[in-house]
Amino acid sequence: MLLIPIAFVLVFKYAPMSGLVLAFKDYKIAHGVWGSEWVGLEVFRELFAKHDFGRAVRNTLLLNCLDLVFSFTMPIVLALLLNEVRNLRFKRINQTLLYLPHFLSWIIIGAIAYQLLSEGSGVVNNVIAMMGGNRVPFLQEDFNWLISYLAIGVWQSMGWGTIIYLAAISGINPELYEAATVDGAGRWRKVWNVSLPSIRTTIVTLLIMNLGRVMEGSFERIYALQNKATTEFTTTIPVLVYRWGIEGGNFSRATALGLFQSLIGIMLVLMADRIAKKLGEDGLL
């Protein structure tokens, strides 16, 4: 019975790993993967010298770190707000609406974003124009694109991210709140001195996990939102792998880039795991 999944994993997960040798070869289609010439680290030397390489690494780190600042904090705020709501039906309706964007594909989100934010016909710009402002190229100019990208990320994940925090908050011993009330603590004191410290471990664990992932990048999210006018920030590692490898046919260089990303990624995950364990958390592995 175990044979089915093992065979599956070997063929579709482990077999591609052997394809990583491409990163150390000068791949020629005529010679095949195994017939191509070994070139050692030559491909990597070439890769590191590329202008786009530096840009892709910078963008991957930049987008993910900014995401961490905004998309990571918003769910905490929302969860604390939701926790203050006493009317359960109000809370329910809000949660349902807030979770919704998480269920949509990036294509649909991208399409909606263009419908809303495009310069000439987007409704947001129509409103701005109606109020006498100037139209803003939200998605067609590098820096604006960056902000839109981040905002859309927050929009997509803010509700969904609250689930874990809400669960953690619901595990707080009610007596803590009672004691705080007896001591004369107001609402904000209770949020600040009871709720937040109680979910601190959850926050720290999730933060460390996310830090371990700053070298990864969502191809789908960037690809659905990018356009020809905004290449400055959209060139990230996965996008470059796609452009070089599948579109451009330079399999060796694209594989090397992918391998570079996974190796750094693994190192970051291991480090994150170490830190988590040092702080007395469960760790990830």
Partner: protein, 299 residues
């Protein structure tokens, strides 16, 4: 959530104060931000071209018409990609669940030898993979490019879902139940079929939905693997070419390009592609929440 909420309510029976108003207000704003984009696109899709070109459509349709939807249903290629998406999602989900159960059930039992090592084999794939290009080359070698198998097979095993399934089985099914079944003469498959599966129904539902919604929404692999075979494009990829790249025109439009405004058609395509998810969303939401919490236990 409930218990702490009630206790708090009991202990501060104050009336709505300013902070309450602010909290509710900010939540309402956040929810509206999630809802209004859909309303706008839906309104646009039901409006007539003239109002949309004049930028006069906000949250309600102007010059109400179903014309754009008529065009979608007349476009064979869109319906075809919907069909492809449905087929791929169904086969993928079934296969994914079979593989997940086949891996999770034996490995959840403590008497299996070499359990840790085998689990490791599966778990490594969560953190390390060959990457985009080697996977692409594999699909190429297997001759699966431009076939639906490329969308079904590679992702069918998910280490994450496997982990959730394994945890769920080992925590929800007592060993004693299995042992007594064995004493009664039941074999492995009989135990799986009559005891484990019926008891794991909730988790099976959750994971099936993870697989299905994930498959339905993904387009990256389709973008990579389905290049020549235009008729095999799943809905999301079709939407990508149609709406975002706008490199592909609507089949019907060829005859009436000047007359119609693609904005309305684009909007109706978005609604068309969103509707399946919106329809099932209210019912699947709770399963997803459960799944997230189960996954978080390990994390």
């Amino acid at each position: 959530m409930k218990s702490s909420g009630n206790v708090i309510t009991m202990h501060r029976k104050r009336r709505f104060d300013t902070w309450d108003v602010l909290i509710h207000l900010s939540l309402i704003i956040a929810s509206l931000v999630c809802l209004l984009p859909f309303l706008h696109v839906a309104a646009k899709s039901l409006s007539s071209d003239a109002f949309v070109i004049a930028n006069k459509v906000f949250l309600l349709p102007r010059g109400f018409t179903f014309e754009a939807y008529g065009k979608i249903f007349a476009d064979a290629s869109i319906l075809r990609s919907l069909y492809v998406s449905v087929i791929v999602t169904v086969v993928f989900t079934l296969l994914g669940m079979i593989i997940t159960i086949c891996a999770a059930y034996p490995l959840s039992r403590k008497q299996l030898k070499g359990r840790t090592a085998l689990t490791m084999i599966f778990m490594i794939t969560l953190y390390f993979s060959g990457g985009i290009i080697p996977e692409y080359m594999l699909m190429n070698q297997l001759g699966m490019l431009d076939t639906l198998w490329a969308l079904i097979l590679p992702q069918a095993f998910s280490a994450f879902n496997f982990l959730i399934m394994k945890t769920a089985i080992s925590s929800s099914i007592p060993v004693s139940l299995e042992e007594s079944a064995r004493i009664d003469g039941a074999g492995h498959f009989r135990i799986l079929w009559s005891i484990v599966l019926p008891l794991s129904k909730p988790i099976i539902a959750t994971l099936s939905l993870f697989y299905a919604v994930g498959r339905w929404n993904a387009y990256q692999d389709a973008l990579f693997y389905i290049k020549q075979a235009v008729e095999l494009r799943p809905l999301q990829l079709k939407l990508y070419y149609l709406v975002i790249q706008a490199s592909e025109s609507f089949q019907l439009e060829a005859t009436q390009v000047q007359l119609s405004n693609p904005e309305v058609l684009k909007a109706s395509c978005v609604v068309f592609a969103t509707l399946p998810i919106l329809c099932i969303y209210p019912f699947i939401q709770k399963y997803f929440v459960q799944g997230v919490l189960l996954g978080a236990v390990k994390e």
